[in-house]
């Protein structure tokens, strides 16, 4: 992605991935990397902040003899995701009109 990814957009992307299924740090980083270049440490602050805000909750589950800490989206998180999606649609529309010179001037 050529455009700068602001913090809010990262929050939205993380919440969206988590809303599909519970995920863990390494996996969600690889998922996001399909869409944009993020470093290995980009998502920890995002996940931690969303957890402290109550949008995500964690639980531990054993896998292949080691532990995995999973992130699960809460009801509050789903609400926040819905708001982000709405905002994105409006933003997308506005950018589109300007970017494709469809503004009535």
């Amino acid at each position: 992605m050529a455009f700068n990814t602001g913090a809010a957009l990262l929050d939205a992307l993380v919440l969206s991935v988590a809303s599909n299924e519970d995920t863990y740090g390494y996996k969600i980083t690889q998922d996001v990397r399909h869409v944009m270049a993020v470093s290995e440490s980009t998502l920890y602050p995002v996940l931690r902040r969303l957890q402290k805000d109550g949008c995500l909750e964690t639980y531990d589950q054993a896998y292949a003899g080691r532990n995995r800490r999973y992130y699960h989206i809460t009801e509050q998180g789903r609400g926040q995701l819905a708001r982000y999606r709405q905002e994105w649609l409006e933003y997308e529309k506005k950018v589109h009109t300007v970017l494709f010179n469809e503004v009535e001037s």
Partner: protein
């Protein structure tokens, strides 16, 4: 730098953070490097930067600038053993008279049930032997005695069931207490 050296150094640099923040970050990156696997280890470490850089980012996430002392010791299991054992002993001493009273009552109930059954049994047998001599009166007495015998059996049975339930409850309570002491 190896994965172990990196994680050890990182943990040192997070020592001034509250336990929750340090545990959250260490768990995240420890598991992250595990998932990446040995083949990706060096690539991931290179991308993470130095432990100092990563620690600074973690401090920023925690809202605690590096170097500021907000240290809280991690709760070690078993670190409150002595105090907790003391609490249990104190509670036991205070509750002892009440417990002894309850125990006496339960014992009395048990004895009552057994005695009732025994009396009922003896009287039934005796009165049956008197039927030839006393006729209907003896039969009446036998009937009453049988009822007492039956009541005694049910009573004792009830006490027995209650005692077994109490034992199970006590055992679970002791197990919980032990776990609490060693928390």
């Amino acid at each position: 730098m190896t994965k172990q050296e990196f994680l050890q150094r990182l943990e040192q640099l997070l020592a001034d953070l509250p336990y929750e923040e340090r545990d959250s970050a260490m768990t995240y990156y420890r598991e992250y490097l595990e998932e990446a696997g040995p083949e990706n280890e060096q690539a991931v470490l290179a991308d993470l930067g130095s432990p100092e850089q990563l620690a600074a980012q973690i401090h920023a996430t925690a809202g605690a600038p590096m170097g500021r002392r907000t240290w809280s010791p991690p709760p070690r299991p078993g670190s409150h053993r002595v105090e907790r054992i003391l609490v249990v002993v104190l509670i036991a001493l205070v509750a002892a008279p009440l417990l002894l009273g309850i125990l006496g009552g339960v014992f009395g109930f048990a004895v009552a049930g057994v005695v009732m059954a025994l009396v009922g049994l003896v009287c039934t047998v005796l009165s049956l032997f008197q039927i030839a001599a006393a006729g209907m009166d003896a039969l009446l007495l036998a009937g009453i005695s049988l009822a007492v015998l039956g009541l005694g059996i049910v009573w004792s049975g009830g006490v027995w069931v209650l005692l077994r339930a109490a034992f199970g409850w006590l055992r679970r309570g002791f197990a919980k207490m032990e776990r609490w002491i060693n928390e």
